[in-house]
Symmetry: C2
Subunit: 207 residues, 2 copies
Amino acid sequence: MVNAAPVPRTFTRKGSATRDRIVAAAAALIFKRGVAQTTTESVCDAAGVSTSQLYHYFKDKMALVRAVIDRQTENVLDAQREYLGRLDSIPRLRAWRDHIVGLQLFEGCKGGCPLGTLSSELSERSDEARGDLALGFARWEDGIRSGLQAMHDRGELCANADPHQLALATLAALQGGLVLTQLRRDPEPLRAALDAIIDHIESLVRA
Amino acid sequence: MVNAAPVPRTFTRKGSATRDRIVAAAAALIFKRGVAQTTTESVCDAAGVSTSQLYHYFKDKMALVRAVIDRQTENVLDAQREYLGRLDSIPRLRAWRDHIVGLQLFEGCKGGCPLGTLSSELSERSDEARGDLALGFARWEDGIRSGLQAMHDRGELCANADPHQLALATLAALQGGLVLTQLRRDPEPLRAALDAIIDHIESLVRA
DNA sequence: TTGGAAATGGAATGTCCACTCCAAAATGTG
DNA sequence: CACATTTTGGAGTGGACATTCCATTTCCAA
């Protein structure tokens, strides 16, 4: 009886580096083309590894996809680390909006949100992947909520404004704006969606 | 030289009915599993037709997908026909929100938006499909905008409120809310997103 | 009614692709 | 150094799937 897990618990330094290259290559390809259009072969080519290496580090394609979800969660949160946890004023919210819209302009309005597109593709296909993604979004939401909560705690927001609901609505505006921006190849929907929710939050600021 | 198009310009009554069954079956399967996970064989089985029939009516799978996009556009607009074009007051907007949230509850928060998920899956894969979807969303957006425009024209909204931007933001809130609701299997994100944008519109109503 | 077009049946084809297998090289540890 | 473990190479396999082909039946207009 062999070890049931195809992945040994321990990797050498070299092994970890290889695994990392595979995840990075897969993340890039999946962001560009989606999971279904990304073949294991193309991942191996892009990472410069052989088939057996991919299956040495991952049980199957879905395991690799889940690793990509984790990687993209970190990437997304990292790309906003200057803002998340600190969105506690209208100017900071506006600066964050500009940052996000700027990123889309930089990408040519292509690709959408790495986590959002994965959610659409995987929500009905794998409950495990859906759970992973839900955790990632929960962290994101939390990074938005904490700033609003701080404003609320400081008494800067109406008492009946709910930071949880507002954070959820803000994340939804961002995701929906990205879907439409990707579809139209135009940053306007994203900008309009974020502007509206931030204007709304501003309207809840005590006079 | 034979006719280059595999689809004759004219169908018999029976032919149109068959084509319709194929599109309906494909739309249902694609809504449930996505384009990539829907095989031509499964569509034929579900529609009760043979392979050759599918290829008699459609050049290839992508042509069928584009027909599904058109079908789903009609379905989505139809499901809201009582509301679109008439969203010209806060109570009507709230009724529309309830209707949409109710549909999600009925679906068990599964599947998301038929057009939204197609957009995510196809935006980077086919410019033609992206164009079809953009047209569908434009019609949807228009159905939202016209009501807001009517409010604005009647002087019920602040002069500086822009019905175009608000309609775009509303559609984005809806799409983003659906992504999160589908991911979490929980209607709250959708409800929070729509509530926020409608509250925002309400805050723009003249006192 | 009849001829041509449309509709249908279903087997066949060829490609793509996830995953397996076995052997060899490299690595780290006692 | 020696041995176990990890890492790598790359060919091979079996199945899934989009699409094609050709024969047969049905439909409709003149």
